[in-house]
């Protein structure tokens, strides 16, 4: 660190009452990401103590978008992932094949490329009206795209967890349920799912954290979440250590909070008499 680097943690506290965090820089335009970032470094701004922009507000806004996008995506992930995961365990071959195809498709294409496909390709392939609605009329299209894309991507992973959870339950349990006259659906609803969800809380937790981390990929289609905002501040101020440290710490805090909540949930729903699975 012998270089002339002006440490200045105070930029993280820059505030402005009339700040418009997302409006400061145009969101990335289609496909230009690759060339844009290198050029950004050329801009010169004072690296001194004065606030050129309300950086604090940018970070807060970035963090909130990260949380909003991740949580909304998780709702899709959990519901869709459960349906797909259950579908992979049913007897009907067609249903199983469709679910397997879904999992393989979404698991074997990079998330970034899936973002691009949802954002740039899907509107082209849809009927004209729907495509135009997506591109022109839907407010905040990049945010909606990011939520759907992230949700469906992670659903393929959650589906595998749900399937593994169900398959880990001995067949005798299904037989016992059926033997007392429950239908297959009732067996899933009252016997298999309540137990398998409990078993898979630890992997579900890391999936949930994965959604938080992967929400940063949405910056490539212009979602101004935490990583995007911190990169933007880094380009404005050159105080990269301060701002990236702040972002890293915030991600770690989110992780910590998620882990704490899930531990609590796990303890709360633990079946009496069984050993805690995730506890160490």
């Amino acid at each position: 660190m012998a270089m002339k680097y002006n440490w200045d943690w105070s930029i993280l506290l820059c505030r402005s009452p009339e700040a418009d965090p997302t409006g400061a820089v145009e969101p990335g335009t289609p496909g230009s990401g690759a060339t844009e970032f290198g050029g950004g470094m050329g801009q010169t701004f004072d690296t001194g103590a004065e606030c050129a922009q309300p950086y604090f507000d940018w970070i807060v806004s970035g963090l909130s978008w990260t949380v909003i996008v991740a949580c909304a995506a998780w709702v899709i992930t959990f519901s869709l992932g459960s349906v797909i995961g259950v579908s992979r365990t049913v007897e009907n071959k067609t249903v199983r094949a469709i679910a397997t195809a879904y999992v393989e498709m979404f698991r074997n294409v990079p998330l970034l490329l899936q973002m691009f496909i949802w954002f740039f390709v899907v509107p082209e392939l849809l009927p004209e009206d729907a495509g135009r609605w997506l591109k022109r009329e839907l407010p905040l299209p990049e945010y909606w795209t990011a939520i759907v894309c992230l949700g469906m991507y992670h659903a393929s992973r959650t589906a595998e967890q749900v399937r593994a959870g169900i398959e880990s339950i001995p067949r005798g349990q299904t037989h016992a349920g059926l033997a007392m006259g429950l239908t297959r659906t009732q067996v899933y609803r009252h016997v298999l799912l309540p137990v398998s969800y409990r078993i898979i809380i630890p992997p579900l937790t890391s999936d949930f954290m994965g959604i938080f981390k992967n929400s940063s990929v949405a910056l490539t289609i212009g979602v101004m979440e935490l990583t995007a905002q911190s990169r933007q501040i880094a380009e404005y101020t050159f105080n990269i250590f301060e701002v990236f440290t702040a972002a890293t710490v915030l991600y770690m805090m989110v992780t910590l909070i998620v882990v704490t909540i899930m531990r609590f949930v796990e303890a709360k729903v633990r079946i009496p008499g069984t050993i805690a699975l995730g506890g160490d």
Partner: protein, 242 residues
């Protein structure tokens, strides 16, 4: 009450049941025995449709099990079944286990189901454990809860799939006692078990199976007195040595 006619079943190329025929009359207790892998469990799982079979016919109280139009959940709700590993649902308390099918299948009100559940727990001597989860109970206690769970459906017949083979020796009797009691009350039962003492005490008939076929189907006295087949003799001599 239960008629099994010429039932055959294959897993791929492997034949697990070979032309099995037998029947169980109302109030009769039939013990099914034989070496492991002989198809005993598979046969009784065919009776309530847990295992499909390719050939033959099984009817329970006049209803054909293999028939596509048969309402299997309804049929199963009338046949109680006990499993080797108890198969209580681990996330529910003993009482909740007993109430689940009563409310979901028989549409009893929660209060009614609970009342009935408590009565049955009293019967198997487990009232104080009503609100415990299966993992907090011993094997024998779990199997008795499972019996209560089956009885709550007011079954017309009961199937027992090696109900005591996963139990520690000192717990076997607490379960067998309840089963003997049931037999004396006139319950129609098919019991897969190696407990020959139980068979001697309450069975009307004994069915001996080997390699997917029914080798002997005889009255208790006849079976224990003069088993006709060599294999049954061999099996009996081995199992009675202990």
């Amino acid at each position: 009450m239960i008629e099994i006619d010429n039932v055959s079943k294959w897993y791929g190329d492997f034949q697990v049941l070979n032309d099995c025929s037998t029947g169980v009359g109302k109030g009769e207790v039939v013990v099914v025995c034989g070496p492991s892998g002989s198809g005993k469990s598979t046969l009784i799982k065919c009776v309530n449709g847990l295992e499909p079979f390719q050939e033959g016919k099984i009817t329970v109280d006049g209803v054909s099990v293999g028939d596509k139009s048969t309402n299997l959940p309804r049929l199963r709700s009338q046949i109680g079944m006990l499993f080797q590993n108890f198969e209580l649902f681990p996330h529910m308390t003993a009482l909740e286990n007993i109430c689940l099918a009563q409310t979901k299948v028989l549409d009893r009100s929660p209060d009614e189901a609970e009342e009935r559940g408590m009565k049955l727990l009293e019967r198997v001597d487990l009232v104080e454990h009503a609100h415990k989860h299966p993992a907090q109970l011993s094997g024998g206690q779990q199997q008795r809860v499972a019996i209560a769970r089956a009885l709550a459906m007011d079954p017309i017949a009961m199937l027992f799939d090696e109900p005591t083979s996963a139990l520690d020796p000192e717990m076997i009797n607490e379960v067998l006692d309840v089963m003997v009691e049931l037999a004396h009350e006139g319950m129609t039962m098919i019991v897969v078990t190696h407990e020959m003492g139980f068979a001697r005490k309450v069975a009307n008939r004994v069915v001996f199976m080997d390699e997917g076929s029914i080798i002997e189907d005889a009255d208790k006295e006849e079976f224990f007195g003069t088993p006709r087949s060599d294999r049954a003799q061999l099996f009996l001599s081995k199992i009675l040595e202990h």
